[in-house]
């Protein structure tokens, strides 16, 4: 079947196409070059005046794994308030901040997304995470395995194991858990929490293992690079949410000494201590550091106002935050020898000084960081806001007067403390296409996604060109997944399953000898059962495995 998308205005930053009128041809799930005129075109979409981009990719969204399920179980009110009926095509579901798997998949597709990455998969929870992701239809998935507070790795660091051994362990974890990248959350801090430490700065030592977050970050960043994992170490740094943590973040950028590093939800790590309330924006300094260090990429973790739930592996910081739970309930949980997790529901209020300033800090970061190839659009769903608020966020970035209108409604003190009103920048469609498509695909090493060139997978989103960008991005005209029309006028017209992106880095298999001993002694599952087979992901008819190449 040969399909022609005729006459649309194309934004394809990988090929430098900035709003040019182009025809795009799809065949057998791929984008192809213009066929010979003798070949019959089966279907033509007239897209004159419409905007065409590759399908959007969310590089950091919590859609699977233990913590999301805890959030679901803990928040019946979140489900009651947002019920989704079944239709002829789609199944029922519910939930605003922590939607059910099916609903999450449908909503992503209806917003023009074709791939979503779960950033905090604990190795011992990987099976659960993959089952939930397999149950999330419409989009491709992938997950980052979380290391850095696991006892095996910390023991290796304490024992001063050589870097090859550490790389082998990291490589084994990626293979065993079917991950595509490595995440570290509060490096060593989740483990330190178990030994009653309640804070851990970059150069403070985990008292039990005698290692610091700095050593952990360097060691993992090096292993990730040596294994050829395309995505840099995905770091949720120390001191999340602590006023003054911008200095920790700046020190962290220096700590990796030029190695690639991705700082996630950096909004939560960009706080100063100035002003009467000892809470201020560090966005300008962080943006400057990101701008001048090309090895650094970030995602923002924008806060948007309303009820949500925070779900994180960072037990230390979630425990500190549980006093602010709304509604008043929370879970902090230990997870085997791997790490832990904390789930705290939260309501961001626009009239609250801290929340309003968090909102402004996120936007300042977006607007002060110059290179859209190194900054990704996220709310750290659901931590800053549910992913369904992305269209609103895009409008805030693209529409200065709208942004200033919103700024006028937030807490006055926060508005005054922010430099937001003095920033003129408006994101262009080309920059949005970079930040939500081209850049995440490149960062994750998804070669044939995030662009519209010949040979790319035909994951494509077509928008109506509407001045109100929130309206434009919340309801695409068409979404194509693997060349099939799956969404029309913002509604699902075909249900597909999506695949799971994984990576298979090489490592020395003899690492399993020491791992087996460790598993037999300490873990609740055997080494053999810990590993996840391809069949387990594919078995229920839920898509396929896509192995991405290492660099």
């Amino acid at each position: 079947m040969l399909i022609k998308l005729s006459g649309g205005t194309v934004y394809d930053p990988v090929h430098g196409i900035n709003g040019e009128k182009r025809d795009i041809y799809l065949q057998d799930g791929y984008i192809t070059r213009k066929p010979a005129s003798s070949i019959k075109i089966d279907k033509t979409y007239d897209l004159n005046g419409k905007i065409i981009m590759a399908g959007a990719i969310d590089i950091h969204t919590h859609i699977g794994g233990g913590k999301v399920n805890i959030a679901r179980m803990m928040l019946p009110e979140d489900h009651r308030a947002d019920l989704v009926s079944k239709t002829k095509l789609t199944r029922s579901g519910c939930g605003h901040a922590a939607p059910s798997t099916l609903t999450a998949g449908y909503r992503y597709a209806e917003m023009g997304y074709t791939a979503c990455f779960e950033p905090a998969m604990l190795p011992s929870n990987a099976r659960q995470a993959h089952m939930e992701m397999a149950d999330t239809p419409m989009v491709d998935k992938g997950a980052y395995a979380m290391l850095g507070s696991d006892d095996f790795f910390l023991r290796m660091l304490t024992a001063k194991k050589d870097r090859e051994a550490i790389s082998d362990y990291v490589g084994w974890i990626i293979n065993a858990t079917q991950a595509i990248a490595i995440k570290v959350v509060n490096p060593g801090g989740i483990n330190a929490f178990k030994f009653n430490q309640r804070k851990l700065d970059l150069d403070e030592q985990n008292e039990h293992y005698g290692v610091s977050p700095r050593e952990i970050i360097k060691s993992l960043a090096r292993a990730v690079r040596e294994l050829g994992v395309p995505h840099p170490l995905h770091l949720h740094g120390c001191n999340l949410g602590v006023p003054g943590n911008m200095h920790t973040t700046l020190d962290t950028i220096r700590a990796v000494e030029g190695m690639p590093l991705h700082l996630t939800h950096v909004q939560f790590h960009s706080y100063g201590t100035e002003g009467d309330r000892k809470f201020s924006s560090g966005a300008a300094e962080i943006a400057e550091a990101v701008n001048s260090n090309p090895n650094i990429s970030i995602d923002v973790g924008q806060v948007l106002f309303g009820q949500t739930v925070t779900a994180s592996g960072d037990t230390m910081r979630q425990y500190a935050g549980h006093w602010h739970a709304h509604p008043k309930k929370w879970v902090i949980m230990d997870i085997e020898c791997d790490a832990g997790c904390g789930v705290v529901p939260f309501k961001y209020r626009d009239k609250n000084f801290v929340n309003a300033l968090q909102w402004a800090i996120g936007l300042e970061l977006f607007l002060l960081i110059n290179d859209p190839w190194r900054i990704f659009l996220t709310t750290d769903h659901p931590n800053g806001a549910p992913f369904t608020s992305y269209p609103h966020l895009i409008r805030l970035l693209m529409d200065r007067s709208f942004r200033n209108d919103m700024l006028a409604t937030i807490n006055k003190g926060a508005a005054a403390a922010s430099i937001l009103s003095s920033i003129d920048r408006e994101y262009t469609l080309y920059e949005i296409a970079t930040m939500t498509r081209a850049a995440p695909a490149r960062s994750l090493g998804l070669k044939n996604r995030g662009h519209l060139g010949g040979g790319a997978i035909a994951d494509i989103t077509v928008y109506n060109n509407i001045k109100n960008k929130e309206k434009m991005f919340e309801k695409p005209l068409y979404v194509f997944k693997n060349g099939e029309e799956i969404v029309k006028n913002g509604k699902i017209v075909k249900v597909v399953t999506g695949g799971t992106h994984t990576l298979r880095p090489d490592y020395d298999k003899s690492i399993e000898k020491s791992l087996k001993k460790y598993f037999d002694r300490y873990m609740t599952v055997k080494l053999g059962n810990f590993k996840i087979d391809d069949d387990e992901i594919v078995e229920h008819g839920n898509g396929n495995i896509i192995v991405q190449p290492c660099t």
């Binding site: 179980m73 803990m74 928040l75 019946p76 009110e77 079944k86 029922s92 509604p327 008043k328 309930k329």
Partner: protein, 270 residues
């Protein structure tokens, strides 16, 4: 005249019938009632596919037949009365805030979860989680009365914050677990781990009960207010003796891992 709904076809899988509620059926004619949506499993069907509809609801609904597999009857009810001749399924009177439901037979699990007002009487037995919070909710039953003449199973009054639950028979384990306030009276025997994690509230039983280690014995006394409760439920037809009304009770407080302000009163002259 009142509305009569008779089950003519037994559902194969649970029938979700939250439309059967005086608030929703008052003044609606027979044909319109028969056309209302109910869910048979995941199939959307009409109420008339399962029930014969007779009469019009003027505040009262009578239901007949084996309704053990019919769920959510009287959900979110605020007024009126429902009389159920036989057994009834889960989630009876869920979140109800007013009105009255009488069940002549047995009820399933989840009788009146998160109820805030009104009254439910079950003449037979009932299942687990009577007057409880839904999983994850911070607050269960907040007001109203649940009177069950027979036995019930586990977690009666889970996270309850107000109102009265009276059980004529025995309860299972975890009676009053996580209780925040309110009153549970058990005329029969209670299972184990009663009042675990309770903050405030009162659990009363006419029999000895095993206590968890985080409860401590305070005194044996003769609480005046209890006489009013016991006389009241006797008037409702429950078996309460004069000795119990006038008798002494051992008072335990707990749960010490929480506020330690809950109480369990156990009849001392047993």
């Amino acid at each position: 005249m009142s509305l009569k709904l008779s089950l003519h076809t037994k559902p194969d899988v649970p029938l979700e019938a939250d439309v059967i509620c005086p608030d929703k059926l008052n003044g609606v004619n027979e044909t319109a009632i028969a056309a209302l949506t109910v869910f048979h499993g995941n199939d959307q069907t009409a109420l008339g596919d399962f029930f014969t509809v007779k009469g019009q609801c003027d505040g009262e609904i009578q239901l007949e037949g084996d309704l053990a597999n019919v769920k959510h009857l009287g959900s979110e009810m605020t007024i009126g009365k429902m009389i159920i001749e036989g057994d009834v399924g889960q989630h009876l009177g869920a979140c109800m805030s007013g009105g009255e439901i009488v069940v002549e037979g047995n009820a399933h699990d989840w009788v009146a979860p998160e109820m805030t007002g009104g009254k439910i009487t079950i003449k037979g037995n009932a299942g687990h989680l009577i007057g409880s919070a839904y999983r994850g909710s911070p607050i269960g039953m907040q007001g109203g009365e649940i009177i069950i003449h027979g036995d019930v199973k586990n977690e009666t009054g889970n996270t309850m914050r107000g109102g009265l639950i009276a059980i004529g028979g025995n309860t299972g384990d975890f009676t009053g677990v996580n209780m925040l306030a309110g009153t549970i009276i058990v005329l029969g025997e209670m299972g184990i781990r009663n009042g675990a994690s309770m903050k405030r509230g009162t659990i009363i039983s006419m029999h000895h009960a095993p206590m968890i280690p985080t409860f401590s014995y305070v005194c044996t006394y003769n609480p005046t207010y209890l006489r009013m409760y016991l006389s009241y439920i006797r008037k409702l037809g429950m078996e309460v003796s004069d000795e119990q009304i006038n008798g002494n009770y051992k008072r335990w407080i707990g749960d010490a891992i929480e506020l330690n302000k809950g109480e369990i009163l156990l009849y001392a002259n047993e």
